[in-house]
Symmetry: D2
Subunit: 101 residues, 4 copies
């Protein structure tokens, strides 16, 4: 994850690009997630197409979501590895409690 | 609002259509909102197009969102007018408190 | 629908409030739709609660989404009735073609 | 990224958990993104709080989104590293063309 964050950061610096405004990135995140939702509804929703036809699109949309998150994280000095690890630990921890007795 | 809900209900009955599964409708809502987000980002985000070029699209996307909400509401016996009025009242009420002193 | 749009407009004028920035409204729409998604997942997702316990919350969240759309529409001179009618007509029209043969 | 995907996979196997249905995961993604939107609107929207107060929450919400994407990807044999790399390359490629002349 870190390498992707650095790759994007380096590249924005070279191009002298600024990251978008936070609200514009969130709006973009909405758009990208909406595209994933469309593809997933095509496979699992009421008008089904075969997963195989759609899998590449689904992968692409997920990649675009992560790219959008990288842009947001980079413009806020957020370490995505740390954030991801914390979320996994949180679910694991919640689960531990559930089975404690 | 009521008339739109009835219009859609009548029409689904005529066609003998069922409303989609709730999770599929929510996924569709995500998709439709994502399309609105894209159009709004085109006008107010970093790569701006003129509002005038985009206004029709924005209107269309909002209509699609409301249509999706009508489908969900109809399949759950929810009265959208009541729901809307309650939300307006809630904001008004919250506001009243804020200025009370 | 028109009456709700006018009610909100009148009230913002009285309070001398401005509508939020478009990107902030879209971000709020995302938040409100996310709250609906949570409630719906509680009923139809993997950890099910009874619909009856959750129906009020679902209604509330849908009302909040429509209120958010009203704010956006009002700040862009969009007539929600027209937008809704157009979306219904579009689906009806698409359907007509499908069954034409 | 790969290590997170494996960590979650291993753990679901140990617990004998199944991944949720795809539409339920998308609905959860909507919820998690909505929570990020709320936090970001708190900082950059009309009722501003300081970024410093909110940064931890924003990090947490982004982690939860990535965890949700990991669950979806794992249940569909999608390699998130590959997906991310492809999206970065796509933007880089689109950009290259733009500056070609």
């Amino acid at each position: 994850m870190k390498q992707y964050q650095e790759q994007v950061n380096k590249w924005f610096k070279e191009k002298k690009w600024d990251y978008w405004d936070p609200l514009a990135i969130i709006t973009r995140l909405f758009e990208e997630c909406g595209e994933l939702a469309r593809e997933v509804n095509h496979v699992y929703g009421p008008k089904q197409k075969k997963l195989e036809e759609k899998k590449k699109n689904i992968e692409d949309e997920i990649g675009d979501i992560i790219y959008t998150l990288i842009c947001f994280a980079n413009s806020h000095d957020i370490d995505l590895e740390e954030a991801t690890q914390k979320s996994i630990d949180k679910v694991a921890d919640r689960d531990k409690d559930r089975y404690k007795k």
